[in-house]
């Protein structure tokens, strides 16, 4: 029992401590404000969902978390360390503990499916060829694409690419998996499969998962904790059930998919009548 009493090391914030913690982050590109005071955290061993309308900055948030870009203000802690304080070696070390599924798959175009999945193994391990083969084929099998091992990325459909990218993301057994829009463009069977995979990876291996998406229903079925992002900050948080029961206008607008409400459907623009009339005058 003494073991459990020992003080926790940084990055090991045991039990339910957050693996990723974003505090009061501000960020803007080209004068456009994306985040103004964003705060959220992803608990260890849980599936955290971040929902939000298209263009609110979900992908940007993931880029901030993985130190691809720097926040203007605020703190982002990953594994208990502030990413702004990390050198490039630390950043690479941090990324080795993470797997990321890109919105557009980002498979390496000059390698076939097998080599794409084998890529991180070849770069970071000295495993023997038979071992690599076993690992890669079993991961491909899990996403149902063992038969596609010889194909080139250009020969895959969007949904197939996504599944290969998922196999690649998990091949190094990461502690954290980050999914950017994993459900877009999947048929119902592949979608169900990906959902089950995310859940299995979380339950069987305890992988902390951060899923970013605008597919409310899918997320609600697997997430332990959900955030709803709009207008540069978190506007609601809770379990999916709590969000569904919420009577906040923003939450109910997003959950039921109505264009009118507090979340604007339009990208900021001048009034349409003014703009059309101005065009006529010119």
């Amino acid at each position: 029992m003494d073991e459990i009493q020992r003080p926790l090391e940084a990055g090991e914030a045991g039990g339910d401590g957050p693996v990723v913690e974003v505090r009061d982050v501000h960020y803007s590109v080209h004068g456009r404000v994306i985040f103004k005071g964003l705060t959220l955290s992803a608990a260890k061993g849980k599936i955290t969902a971040v929902m939000g309308p298209s263009g609110t900055g979900k992908t940007t948030l993931l880029r901030l978390m993985t130190a691809q870009i720097e926040a203007d203000a605020g703190v982002i802690n990953v594994f208990g360390r502030d990413v702004a304080q990390m050198g490039s070696q630390d950043v690479f070390a941090m990324r080795r503990r993470m797997g990321m599924l890109f919105q557009n798959s980002a498979l390496l175009s000059d390698l076939d499916v097998f080599e794409n999945v084998a890529f991180p193994l070849r770069e970071h391990t000295d495993l023997t060829e038979p071992l690599i083969r076993n690992l890669v084929l079993s991961k491909l099998n899990a996403v149902g694409l063992r038969g596609a091992a010889e194909l080139m990325p250009t020969e895959l459909s969007g949904g197939m690419s996504r599944r290969v990218a998922l196999a690649r993301a998990v091949v190094m057994d990461p502690e954290v998996l980050i999914y950017d829009e994993p459900f877009v463009g999947l048929d119902p069977i592949a979608l169900g499969m990906i959902l089950r995979l995310i859940q299995q990876l979380n339950q069987a291996l305890g992988i902390t998962s951060i899923v970013v998406s605008h597919d409310v229903a899918e997320l609600a079925s697997i997430a332990h904790h959900s955030y709803l992002m709009a207008d540069g900050r978190i506007v609601a948080a809770g379990t999916p059930a709590e969000l569904a029961r919420s009577d906040s206008p923003i939450v109910s607008q997003f959950m039921s998919g109505k264009p009118d409400g507090p979340v604007p459907f339009h990208y900021p623009a001048p009034d349409i009548v003014t703009q059309l009339l101005a065009g006529e005058g010119a």
Partner: protein, 254 residues
């Protein structure tokens, strides 16, 4: 007004040169690491060199044929057509071989490199590598740079050889220059110095062309249009620099 404009142009050019130098330094560090895994470099030598082979050989052949016709016509006026072998060899080895190979390389391999790297960037492949803790400078840029640097002198040698074959075919077979004096004049008069000049040029051109191609691809705006513009910049910048450096190298070797 004009002064302000030209000042900002110069400033921009200098800034660009600075960025390229920084990029080169990072690239050279990664080159050392890339050499530890030679199979990637070998693949890129094939990519840059093997695929330019046909166009280089064809161009070399025609260049040699043109040289023989022009040279014969010129030398005949002085009654010294026996020197054709020497004249063609000198022109090919010192000047036309390195310069034309480099220009063709920039158009064929350089553009392919830029658009390939630019597209990898536009489709998030470079980001994906970074996320897998792999430095794309080492995995993508360095092998392609090294492949180009190594391929250029080899291509130049092939250009020269095929060019001489073309010159010999026209000069000896068609124009009736004596076969023996074609080769012996060449052997007697072309010195090691001339060959070194050609080799130096091809090394410098290989370095510059590959650096520009990789740099432009790596820094291309990640859109279809951005990649297209970067490809154009590769050809323009490479071509101008090849001719400028050619002049400077000739002056240095005089």
């Amino acid at each position: 007004m004009n002064g302000v404009l030209s000042f900002s142009l110069v400033a921009e050019a200098l800034a660009r040169l600075g960025r390229m130098t920084l990029f080169l330094l990072q690239l050279l560090v990664q080159c050392a690491r890339a050499l530890a895994r030679p199979n990637l470099v070998v693949a890129q030598i094939y990519n840059a060199g093997g695929r330019s082979l046909v166009i280089i050989m064809l161009s070399g052949l025609f260049t040699g044929m043109v040289l023989a016709l022009l040279g014969f016509n010129l030398l005949q006026r002085f009654g010294s057509q026996e020197a054709l072998g020497f004249a063609a060899a000198l022109a090919l080895i010192k000047e036309l071989g390195p310069v034309l190979t480099a220009l063709l390389f920039a158009g064929r391999a350089g553009t392919a490199l830029t658009s390939e790297i630019g597209l990898m960037n536009a489709t998030d492949q470079l980001t994906a590598m970074k996320m897998m803790a792999v430095d794309p400078l080492r995995y993508v840029a360095a092998p392609r740079f090294l492949g180009g640097v190594i391929a250029m002198p080899l291509l130049t040698a092939i250009f020269d050889a095929v060019g001489l074959f073309g010159a010999h075919t026209i000069g000896v077979r068609m124009m009736g220059v004596d076969n023996g004096s074609f080769w012996s004049q060449m052997q007697a008069s072309v010195g090691l110095n001339d060959v070194m000049e050609g080799v130096t040029k091809s090394l410098v051109f290989g370095f510059v062309c590959s650096l520009i191609a990789v740099y432009e691809g790596y820094h291309a705006e990640p859109t279809a249009e951005g990649v297209g513009l970067a490809t154009t910049r590769t050809v323009v910048a490479s071509s101008v620099l090849i001719l400028l450096l050619d002049y400077m190298l000739i002056a240095a070797f005089l």
